[in-house]
């Protein structure tokens, strides 16, 4: 699981070019909205694509995206639940 978390962190750094900010947040910090990393909906699209390419997990709908992309932890949990990673 730790390895998946590290790979998700690396993905955030490379895809969103946020190396500094990602190093400062913990695994439960909200990625979106003013209280967290402050990502926007276009960043979400970038993440969906990155997760598909890196881990082979497909996020098809908005409800899943909201649930899965909440934090580094929820992303890692989703990848594991799909048997990927």
């Amino acid at each position: 699981m730790n390895e998946i978390v590290q790979r998700v962190r690396a993905l955030l750094c490379t895809r969103l070019k946020l190396a500094g900010a990602v190093a400062e947040i913990n695994d439960e910090t909200p990625l979106f909205g003013p209280t967290g990393l402050g990502l926007d909906s276009i960043d979400a699209l970038e993440l969906v694509l990155g997760l598909e390419k890196e881990f082979g997990v497909v996020i098809e709908d908005r409800a899943t995206a909201i649930k899965v992309l909440d934090s580094i932890r929820t992303i890692a949990d989703f990848i594991q639940s799909q048997g990927k990673g």
Binding site: S41, I42, L45, E46, L49, E52, K53
Partner: protein, 242 residues
Amino acid sequence: MGRVVLVTGGSRGIGRSIVLAFAEPGNVVAIGYRSGEEAAAGVLAELRGRGAEGMVLQADVTDLAQVRSMVEALVSRCNRIDVLVNNVGGSRDGLLTLMDPADWDAVLDLNLKGVFHCCKVVTRHMLAERGGAIVNVSSLSGITGLPGQTNYAAAKGGVNAFTKALAQEVARFGIRVNAVAPGLVATEMVAQIPATQRERLVSRIPMGRMAHPEEIAAVVKFLASDEASYITGQVIQVTGGI
């Protein structure tokens, strides 16, 4: 390198001219059609005669599952899709007070929901490739309105706004989205307008004539090309000066 192009509604009218505009050696052009199988086969033969590759793909764009099958058939053969032209369209004109709600729904589904379906499926592939061009064939009716076309004008106006919004969503990923809004074009669809009304419409065109379908196709081709690499989110009017 040639390009992989999908033109919906490519069997006749403006769509046929768009398919043929992309008919160059190296290109693969997929001709989407709903019911005109014979006409689509004819366009495919012309396409091949000009040295391009192609295929015909049957789908009703109002059905998302059929759109998925159509796009998968193309991508499984070519591994990518570079250009999507959403050309499918059609009208069921009538005054609003007398308009059957079924005619409202049918026109909105065909002209607007179909664009949503095709873009939703195709952008997934373009995003993965981080590049592509989408051109929506809209209508002047969607900008100025036309009496008897509240449904069609609403749908095409929706396509114009959709174009601008999607362009902003995907610009960062190297995908451009534009629309062409033709005025009156000499096609079967316009031929259905009663002659006296058609003449009245033509008399309002400063250039004094309808467009040839090829004149619309040329603009679509330009917007899809690298020549238009800095143009996105635009609705280009091709109207003879209206």
